[in-house]
């Protein structure tokens, strides 16, 4: 193995090692919390991108699954005494099944129905959380018992669990990218009718991709509920959970492996810093405005994101498909 190939193969482990060892040196809750939140968003963004980036279907329902995960985690703990750390992966699988059901309804037709269904799904879950008072305690929310850990260590299990979720999301996304399944999804994004004509079972592929993509938001929601020891409809259905991953994926670069990671590690710290700078009475509102403006600017001027723009600049190609190195030149060279 040459040096370059070894670098190519092993470089993802270097930042991972740093992140694993970081809590040894850094004990400030602020930084660990920031990192943990960033891991969470990175994992959710990688998941979103399986559908939004690879298959080209935009979901506006991320927080619906996150909220479902939050409530599922809280209820399994309160009713059946199952710790969230144990139940979280199973909750993720449950959400994937729900996602498959939604996909079956929305994905037999084209993109418009999918947008509408994912958007209303959030409203439905939120309505259930508000109105099924016997189960969810309505708008008063559910309190969960604290973990029995010393105060200075209480953050660590969440830190590592979220990091593990992020690593898992990364490898799932990478495995999909390199597979026939992933190529099928990209074919769907590029030209759905042709993909179908070539024998890609487009409906099945899309449903499967959506089911996988919602897993991460759900697990993150469950973990976050335990981290806060509390869940109510406002916290569980925070608009930022839908908005931020979209902004992160677009800023970094949709349909790439590194883009969502880069986007999350850029946008989340900047977001936190912005909220810190703003007067607290309007911080949340102006944070919304800022992310909305970034979203618009990226959509208008850099829809391919940083990674794709960089790659196509290096390849001298154009557009976010610049990485297709065998693609014929779009225009004759002058």
């Amino acid at each position: 193995m040459t040096g370059a190939a070894a670098l190519q193969r092993w470089w993802p482990w270097v930042p991972l090692l740093v992140l694993v060892l970081l809590p040894v040196g850094i004990r400030e809750t602020f930084y660990l919390d920031l990192l943990m939140t960033t891991f969470m968003y990175a994992a959710i963004t990688l998941g979103w991108d399986i559908m939004g980036g690879y298959a080209g279907y935009v979901s506006l329902g991320t927080v619906g699954f996150y909220g479902l995960g939050s409530y599922a985690g809280a209820l399994l703990l309160l009713r059946f005494n199952i710790p969230v750390f144990v139940s979280a992966p199973f909750i993720g699988v449950l959400c994937s099944l729900v996602g498959a059901g939604l996909g079956w309804i929305a994905l037999r037709t084209r993109a418009a129905a999918f947008v509408i269904v994912t958007l209303t799904f959030t409203s439905i879950v939120q309505l259930l959380a508000l109105n099924l008072k016997g189960l969810t305690n309505g708008s008063s929310g559910l309190y969960m018992p604290l973990l029995t850990l010393p105060n200075n260590l209480i953050l660590l299990p969440f830190y590592y669990y979220m990091l593990a979720l992020l690593v898992f999301a990364y490898f799932v996304s990478r495995a999909i990218r390199g597979s026939k399944f992933g190529l099928g999804l990209i074919a769907i994004r590029e030209e759905e009718e042709k993909a179908e004509g070539l024998g890609v079972d487009t409906s099945l592929y899309k449903i499967l991709a959506f089911a996988i993509s919602v897993f991460f938001a759900c697990v993150a929601g469950a973990l976050r509920a335990q981290y806060l020891n509390y869940v109510d409809p406002d916290i569980a259905f925070d608009l930022f959970i839908t908005l931020s991953p979209i902004v992160m994926a677009l800023v970094g670069g949709r349909g790439t492996l590194i883009g969502p990671l880069l986007g999350a590690f850029l946008v989340q710290p900047l977001s936190q810093y912005l909220v810190f700078l703003l007067p607290s009475s309007v911080a949340g509102q102006l944070h919304l405005v800022a992310l909305g403006v970034v979203l618009l600017l990226v959509v208008l001027f850099m829809p391919d994101g940083i990674v794709n723009a960089y790659r196509s600049a290096r390849a001298g190609g154009s557009g976010w498909r610049g990485r297709r190195q065998t693609a014929p030149p779009a225009e004759a060279a002058p």
């Binding site: 935009v58 409203s123 439905i124 509102q285 829809p303």
Partner: protein, 293 residues
Amino acid sequence: MNGQLLAQSLVLGILTGGLYGLTSVGLSLIFGIMRIINIAHAALIVLGSYLALALFRSFGLDPLLSILLLIPFFLLLGGAIQWGILDKLSSKDLTLTVLATFGVAIIVEGLQGAIWSSTYVSIRTPYSLSSVQVAGLYIPVVRVMAGLASFVLLAAVFVLLYRTNLGRAIRATTQNRTAAQLVGVHAGFVTTVAFAAGLAMAGAAGPLLGMLYSFYPATHWLLIGKLLAIVVLGGLGSLTGTFAAALVLGVAEQVAGVTLPLEWGPMLFYVLLFGTLIVRPQGFFGAVRRGSL
């Protein structure tokens, strides 16, 4: 349920249905001509409510009269959004236009919260609590006014669309953009007019909804879900279908409200939305058109 109650909810339902029609027909018009799902539609309706409230509080301007100011304002705003954002994307995929309107919705919501704070408000006019008595039924004045104003505005839009050359050009562009351009329709201009008209309908509906229900910046998420349900039920892009669906859902919501607890009302819309998508994705009322979803 006795007859009196049924008649009452029928009348109220038709009045509310008119308001749903005013809001959802604009959404459907925009989808029809531009193939864009305007996620920001309800956020702009709520903006209309806030502007009417501000005008009412500052100048004592009646919400009904503020509609006359809001229509030109929203026409200009619509022109600006179309020209400055959506027109730059129209050649690209649905993905980007959805994200753009989603971004607009987020910005509008955030600005409203920063300016007017995130607490519930409502527009309380001197006649807010009075009712009219018609054939033994008591109907709140504001609901009569909102319903009638909606029907008048809707009628104006339908006259524009079905009785003028501009309207013919809009409908032609909706049906087949290339063919319309071939016979001399300036599709770009027509599209901008249609989008602006759709937003003007949203802006005009703002004060009417604001008189009936209290609102805060995030209420638009609930509203956009309802409107999209209406539009899908009516057949995405079909204007008459959307109007019919709006009336049906307006009445259904009122009738259901008699027996069902109030907080479950929105569920009716979602159930019908999902039911429609499972059984008949092209909608129930509109003409079946290829690629309508």
